[in-house]
């Protein structure tokens, strides 16, 4: 008997013994099963700036996990070795780490938060949900790093236990999502709006790929959409692309392109625009949108200086969007 997975907009119709597009949700005897629950392939402690989250507990370590599998198949995926892998692949192994063990690991390593990242937590939804619920009750904050390709009902349910999210807005046209990511734009925009409306801290990442989504008019359009639907205070990260997976024929994004994108987004009224994957002095720091004074100075993932006073600019007193403690 076939089963239908209603977790993400792909709505996979899965035959007996087959898996959905994510490779990790399988029809076994007419029941949809998740094979990666409690089995992350990666557990590491990262600086929170690596997610990237610049407005959420800056300078703190975050326990970060992922299982194999992803519901998207981006041709430029930076982590394709795990996101496009099957659990049974010989070169990828996993840890046995059920939610309670993961929460204990987070606490034992003095991490104030736990990130569901690297691949996509939507693919390991049940593991994310149960761990986040347990972590919340233990006083640990939960962070999602996701493409946001999920249906409304499970997304709202998960957001109840999430404190912050970095959500990719990979492009601003449906054509880009269809051609490059095997997905569609509308559900991602919907997930972004719902996340912001739920009250969690939201930061957005846009990976700029030369020739595909780097035109100034596309950047204008992307920034305008963020300003109109999420608010000008929403931090936006422009990340540099590196030739990976099925896109080894394209050059890496230049610093000039990222700088131009940053200028465009700021001219459209976004207060906090950053540059990632390439070292940029101005594009790494947080500046006050009121008096333009420097608030947080960063070098890579390291905080060099943090001048914020209780989430406010020490010079003009403007409140800065974020969760600072």
């Amino acid at each position: 008997m076939k089963v239908q997975c209603e977790l993400c907009p792909k709505m996979c119709l899965i035959g007996p013994g087959q898996s959905g597009e994510c490779r990790v949700r399988i029809n076994i005897d007419g029941v949809l099963r998740t094979v990666v629950y409690g089995y992350p392939c990666s557990i590491n402690i990262d600086p929170i700036e690596k997610k990237p989250l610049y407005h959420f507990l800056p300078g703190t370590p975050i326990l970060s996990i992922a299982t194999v599998g992803c519901n998207l198949h981006c041709e430029n995926c930076q982590n394709w070795e795990i996101s496009q892998a099957n659990p049974e692949d010989a070169n990828i192994s996993a840890y046995s780490c059920p939610p309670d063990k993961l929460v204990k690991l987070t606490r034992d390593n003095n991490c104030p938060s736990l990130a569901y990242t690297y691949t996509d937590p939507i693919a390991y939804y049940e593991y994310t949900y149960d761990t986040a619920k347990l972590a919340r009750s233990a006083g640990i904050r939960n962070v999602l790093v996701t493409a946001g390709y999920i249906n409304e009902q499970p997304w709202k349910k998960l957001l109840k236990y999430i404190d912050a999210a970095n959500i990719d807005l990979k492009g601003i046209t449906d054509d880009f999502y269809r051609r490059i990511c095997s997905a569609t734009l509308k559900p991602v925009q919907n997930a972004l709006i719902l996340a912001k409306a739920s009250g969690i801290l939201v930061e957005v990442t846009n990976l700029i790929i030369p020739t595909l989504n780097d035109k100034p008019e596309q950047i204008h359009q992307l920034a305008q959409w963020i300003k109109a639907n999420l608010g000008g205070e929403t931090p936006l990260h422009f990340s540099g692309f590196y030739p990976r997976y099925k896109m080894r024929h394209l050059p890496p994004t230049s610093l000039k392109t990222l700088d131009t994108a940053r200028q465009i987004a700021m001219s459209e009224g976004l207060d906090y625009v950053y540059i990632g994957n390439l070292l940029s002095r101005q594009g790494s720091n947080t500046y006050c949108p009121g008096c333009k004074g420097m608030l947080i100075e960063r070098s890579g993932f390291t905080i060099l200086k943090n001048r914020l006073k209780d989430g406010h600019c020490p010079d003009c007193g403007k409140e800065i969007y974020g969760v600072w403690k």
Binding site: M1, K2, V3, Q4, C5, E6, L7, L13, I14, R25, I26, I28, G30, V31, L32, R33, T34, V35, V36, Y37, G38, Y39, S42, I43, N44, I45, D46, P47, K50, K51, L63, S64, A66, V68, Q78, N79, I82, N86, P87, E88, D89, A90, I92, S93, A94, Y95, S96, C97, L105, N109, T117, Y118, Y125, E126, V145, N151, Q153, P154
Partner: protein, 60 residues
């Protein structure tokens, strides 16, 4: 054909049709899931937990 035989045949034919339709519906209408059930045994290779304090090589 007596009335009794006719009714018996009608009931038999009706039952066969209903059974056929329900079988067809069962096979064409999939069971719908949002939450998947955990599979206890991992189909891949497991490794022991090692030092997790190092920064991860994966992006994100």
């Amino acid at each position: 054909m007596t009335r009794r035989k006719f009714i018996n045949r009608l009931i038999k034919t009706g039952s066969v049709i209903i059974a056929g339709i329900s079988c067809l519906v069962k096979n064409t209408n999939p069971r719908k899931f949002i939450r998947a059930v955990r599979l206890k045994k991992y189909p891949g290779r497991l490794k022991p937990l090692r030092d997790i304090s190092k920064q991860c090589k994966w992006s994100g």
